[in-house]
Amino acid sequence: MRGMLQRAIRLTWHAHLARELTDGTAVPLKIAIVLLIAVGLSFLSGAVIAKEAQPNEDPQIEQRMKNLTEQLRCLVCQNETLADSHADLAEDLRKQIREQMKAGKTDKEIIAYLTDRYGDFVLYKPPVKTTTYLLWFGPFVLLGGGTVVLYRYLSRRRKMIQEKPLSAEERRQAAEILRSV
């Protein structure tokens, strides 16, 4: 049952991707979503899409899995984490990660395994390196630059204001105006 559902979802999704990649039309996404919901509902009555219940797995490893995969992007559905995604690739990758954890690999090694294959894009938090300096520090540079510009503008404006004391004649005129009000 679950296999059939997955196959249906995958076919719909790939139909959408195919259209998008070949002619760039984004409209089929709506159709794809409607189809997905329809397909999902028709199956849901019988089978709940279980989130890979693994009762026999080591809870410690499952917790580590969850913590790690929540920081990783599923490349098929890019706005989903690897922890949440139901894409087949995500399930295969979770299986891989679980096996590597059982084999004693550290989180760092597992992340390296993934970035070697899929690039830094799998990380939701991009690493700090020369190509990402602009991304990480650009906003602070902009903030600093803006502060300097603002400070210089304000201090120049202050210089433009020259306070001249009123002459006796001006003082008399001002008093007259105030009286007439």
Binding site: G3, Q6, L75, L93, K95, F121
Partner: protein
Amino acid sequence: MNKYLFIPLVLFVGLVAFLLIGLHRDPHEVPSPLINKPAPSFQLPQLHEPTKTFSSQDMKGKVYLLNFWGSWCVACRDEHPLLVQYAKSNVVPIYGVDYNYANDNADERAAAMQFLAELGNPYTETIYDKGGLTSIDYGVYGAPESFLIDKQGIIRFKQIGPITEDVWNNKIVPLAKQLNQ
């Protein structure tokens, strides 16, 4: 005229330029870290003859196109007629990897053989990646994906999604000819 008057306009035009470029980029195309790196090695059973294997070592000294596909992949169906046509052109041999997800219980081997029997077989050799470990090694996330690999076994080009006439004529053919020299 205030010389600073045009700064906001220039910044705005710059911003618009960035946004326009962003509009025309496909977020599904993630740059692969594997370009100009050695192609991951593999040794996998052949699709049609499960007892025989095929390994990346067999391809040393040859320029070839490695195409990851699956019978479940709709975009591959779209791409297939072009592959059949291009295989006849003898520009570069095409090798197929049938990608079978670990959690997919359907009989992908049989489905893939039927697929090739119906739509034609462009592949010099087809191998069967059950469980998708080799596909993961190649960072495949949106089948079909194709890798152009040179005589030294270095990946020179990757196409994510179906190969189009444009990609074949303007990228793969010139590059394959150059690599064959």
